[in-house]
């Protein structure tokens, strides 16, 4: 009755996953003190990373888009505004959503597995992906959603008070709230809490290096391996993201990659192979790559969810090209959610959805063949 056993185990895994999500996820507005809606003025700080130009114009130097912005106008992200020739972030300490999530949900699989991350976002994003799951915060202006006033010290205290092993900047695009994120990184470090960043990686080199100097891990959503897709689906550029990944590795910050596989748009063998080869050549075989399942959302509702077979094909190609840690995501209970030793192929960290059900690592090594497994294991 092996089949029956498998089903039962799968059922229990799913149940465990559901319980974990119910306990950990969900809007954490209760984390913030109730009160009157906050005053907009307290969120506004002069931005970093911009140039002043003639006639009160400015040029943003945060992301490769380099928005040229007139007085009283905003950049593409909607979160930064030119006021009289000075550029301001409108989202410092302006939290649009916050949750306590398993760190596996980010996903980080090689960074303190089994811990919780205090996860937050402000409104705004510097791209406009047609499949965005969080468009109701990423594709709006800050004043179009309720924001909670949460200065960096408060974020750090809330993280500690809720037994979170990290602060995660996620859901929308943390690059656009760079000033706030950098201040939260510092506040967290003062309390011994690391910071992890979940980003599209569409950022200029100077701010990226500043971020790498503070952040403890960065997960990049590499949305495709073609400029065509970046143009038509993401509204961004591929090359700066690839350049950014190289910089992250050279700066020594722990890096993982997610590749959301969208049927018919970025799921060819050639693209998977080109991606895997590029990663191996430029970042090394030890960078974890998560091939995750797409669900129809936002402006891309006409496509089906990614077939599991497609994800397995991507996973297989990545392995064949020599990547050591390829995963399948958004398919709870799939064996490729777990971490295996690249040498002896024994399971090291077993996962069910966002839950770690078994962790056999000993001091960051395989207990069977003593191979060192790259990551931040604590």
């Amino acid at each position: 009755m092996g089949g029956a056993d498998t089903s039962r185990r799968e059922f229990l895994r799913q149940a465990a996953l559901g319980s974990a999500c119910a306990a950990c996820c969900g809007w954490a507005r209760g984390l913030f003190a109730a009160g009157a809606p906050p005053d907009d003025a307290q969120f506004i700080r002069e931005a970093q990373f911009y140039e002043k130009q003639a006639h009160k114009k400015i040029k943003c130097k945060l992301c490769p888009r380099e928005c040229a912005i007139d007085d009283r106008e905003r950049g593409y992200c909607g979160a930064r505004e030119n006021r009289g020739g000075t550029y301001y972030t409108l989202v410092h300490s302006r939290v649009a959503t916050a949750h306590i999530d398993p760190i596996e949900k980010k996903p980080f699989f090689h960074f303190h597995p089994g811990t919780l991350a205090f996860s937050l976002a402000t409104a705004g994003c510097n791209v406009n992906c047609k499949f965005c799951q969080n468009w109701e915060i990423s594709q709006v202006r800050p004043e179009q959603v309720r924001g909670e006033f949460a200065p960096p010290e408060k974020i750090a205290e809330l993280s500690r008070g809720n037994a979170c092993g990290a602060i995660a900047y996620t859901y929308s695009e943390p690059v656009i709230f760079m000033e706030y994120m950098l201040d939260c990184v510092d506040a967290g470090h003062k309390l011994g809490i690391p910071s992890v960043v979940v980003t599209g990686g569409y950022i200029q080199q100077e701010p990226l290096k500043k971020l790498c100097a503070g952040a403890d891990a960065i997960k990049v959503d590499l949305k495709a391996f073609s400029q065509k897709y970046y143009t038509e689906v993401v509204n961004g550029e591929l090359k700066p993201v690839l350049d950014g990944l190289v910089t992250m590795r050279s700066q020594g910050v722990w890096t993982e990659i997610v590749y959301l596989v969208v049927p018919a748009l970025n799921d060819s063998d050639a693209e998977f192979r080109g991606l895997a080869q590029w990663i191996k050549q430029n970042l090394g075989a030890d960078v974890p790559v998560h091939f995750t399942r797409f669900h129809p959302e936002y402006l891309l509702k006409n496509l089906p969810p990614t077939p599991v077979e497609t994800l397995e094909r991507a996973h297989q190609i990545a392995g064949a090209e020599g990547l050591h840690f390829a995963y399948i995501g958004n398919v709870p209970g799939h064996p490729a959610e777990s971490t295996y030793c690249p040498k002896c192929h024994k399971v090291l960290i077993e996962r069910a959805g966002f839950m770690v059900t078994q962790n056999r690592l000993k001091h960051g090594k395989c207990p069977d063949c003593q191979t060192a497994i790259p990551g931040k294991w604590g």
Partner: protein
Amino acid sequence: MLPSGPSRREFLRACAAAAAYAAAGKAGVAAAMAPPKSRVVVARDPALRGAGKTPGSARVLALLDRALMACYGRDNPLEAWKKAVRPGETVGLKVNCLGGRGMSTSVVLVDAICERLQQAGIREEDIVIWDRLESDLESGGFRARGKVRCIGNDSAGYEDDLEEFGSVGSLLSRTLTRTCDAVINLPVLKDHGITGMTAALKNLFGAIHNPNKYHPNGGDPYIADVNMLAPLRRKVRLHLCDAFTAQYEGGPSCMPQWQWAYNGLLVSGDPVALDYTAWQIIERKRAEKGMKSLAAAQRAPSYIATAADARHQLGTNDPHRIERLEV
């Protein structure tokens, strides 16, 4: 939607012409079946400001009357307005106040329109002046006047469901979707550093929640796509561009050093024809000032042609199909 006066009349003329030419052979029929022209009224008054710097209310009202009568082919301004709106409707006046005082839709013009709307049977409380932000409206000089309301999208809010066309997915202002039955689009005539220039088509970015997403590539095809969103197509009845003071460089911010007193209004039911006409006015001024054309400056407003293409058909940018009427 009410058909705009000129288009309807032109259509009937074309039908009559088709009948007349029916016996004249193939070539005659082809000529008769050519699409009707779009009328753009350019109304100007060199004495609009009198001895002062600002337009006088009586001269503005007279200029507005001339423009509307010419647009709709009526010899009475109220009859002209009745071609655009019906008693019982709530009428939105979509102004443009991003440039603040000095480069916003003129208060004196909006006052004149409110006066004529009421005389045409629209109740005072059924007139709504609206734009993106309350603060923009205030900086443009608009406050509630009598029972006429002033509403920023930031206080009215946006719909919860996306409206989509082509490259665009946006939430629409509830003022547009829930409050207004009809909209009079009241842009200003000015240069725009990204999209080349801005008049009728781009002013409707003020109806969506995410205009910042739609400036890449000079706003092309986004501006045309936004104008295709169904509630805008249903409700916008007339485009009336305030060109009392126009700006040929440095926009969209207010830059007095690049402004000139054009002392005019541009009026049309066809936003593409209006924008094409407005673009030519700006280009002539730039040439007169020895400046590069917008094309040479790498910011020709290509979205105007896109708005006229087969996919959008929002109007015409073909000068041979634009009837420019100067009054």
